[in-house]
């Protein structure tokens, strides 16, 4: 028989995963876009499940997956509701902290497609991709002007 207390305990675990992940990992990543990329790197390409070695030592696999999925969704929503000008700043910050030449690779290979969480509507996915493409084009034109 299913333990009636197990569900609230699981949801408490998910909030703990979220709090710990935000405090210990995301806090040190600058910018929402970088956070989004980092979060999608925690997701297995085939199963779509999120994994995190640090969190796995303290929480169940399900709690880690649910917590990170929730965090991913939350960040994605924040990103797509941001104005276009903010996207340019996000990209600028991302490329400054990683590799300034990565912009060309991003334009060519579109690796940002993996940053879209599961359960996203077609319109949300399109808005994300479109804003990134436009922001990349703007950065490219700025660089050409320089």
């Amino acid at each position: 028989m299913k333990d009636p207390n197990s569900e609230p305990a699981e949801s408490m675990n998910i909030s703990s995963v979220l709090a710990e992940f935000r405090e210990r990992s995301l806090r040190y990543v600058q910018g929402n876009l970088a956070k989004l990329v980092y979060l999608s790197s925690c997701r297995d390409y085939n199963s779509g499940r999120y994994r995190h070695d640090g969190l796995a030592t303290r929480f169940s696999e399900t709690a880690v997956h649910e917590g990170l999925a929730l965090c991913h969704r939350d960040l994605f929503e924040q990103m797509i509701q941001a104005p276009l000008t903010e996207w340019i700043e996000e990209l600028r910050l991302y490329f400054t902290s990683t590799d300034p030449d990565a912009a060309r690779v991003w334009k060519e290979l579109r690796p940002y497609q993996i940053a879209i969480p599961r359960g996203t509507t077609a319109l949300e996915a399109e808005l994300f991709m479109s804003n990134l493409k436009i922001a990349l084009e703007i950065l490219e034109s700025e660089r050409r002007a320089d």
Binding site: P83, L123, E124, E126, K133, S141
Partner: protein
């Protein structure tokens, strides 16, 4: 009597439109199934049709602005397809539920059919206006579609709950 005629003709028109969409394969295809059912939040719609973003894009070099405008237009069409798709799915589900229920009220069904038809007509008008005027100038039509779709979803939910309640009783 007049009301019966109005609601009756609306329902008939809605059925005809529904049949038309089924024939056009509007439900299946276009790659919407995996992400289709839920509609985006109003905040996302606001962002897609944002005046601030449009003004900013207008200040950019022409090729970038053109690319922005083209992509926003494509998004407007995606949104319309999503509304149609969701409404048709919801109505199908509703029809399946009420068919088995004893809580079938003809007035309510006619009202739902009329709302459905209203949304479909607004979708067609919107699609036409997006192509001719561009998505940024359609604020009222966008607000109408958002509120109407929410209303239809609520109405169908109430009717579903009533049918479930009736069956349980």
């Amino acid at each position: 009597m007049m009301d019966v005629l109005i609601y009756g003709s609306f329902s008939l028109a809605a059925l005809l439109l529904l049949a038309l969409f089924w024939r056009r394969g509007e439900l299946e295809g276009r790659g919407l199934e995996p992400m289709g059912m839920a509609l985006p939040a109003p905040a996302v719609i606001d962002r897609v049709f944002s005046q601030d973003d449009l003004c900013y894009a207008q200040s950019l070099p022409k090729p970038i602005y053109r690319s922005f405008a083209r992509q926003r237009q494509a998004m407007a069409m995606t949104w319309i397809r999503q509304i149609r798709y969701t409404c048709i799915l919801l109505l199908r589900r509703h029809a399946r539920t009420v068919r088995r229920s004893s809580a079938l009220f003809i007035w309510r069904e006619a009202r739902i059919a009329a709302s459905f038809l209203g949304i479909l007509v607004a979708c067609e008008l919107f699609a036409l206006a997006v192509v001719t005027l561009g998505p940024a100038r359609l604020k009222m039509l966008i607000a109408f579609l958002v509120s109407r779709t929410e209303l239809l979803q609520m109405e169908l939910l109430c009717s579903y709950l009533e049918a479930v309640y009736e069956t349980a009783a």
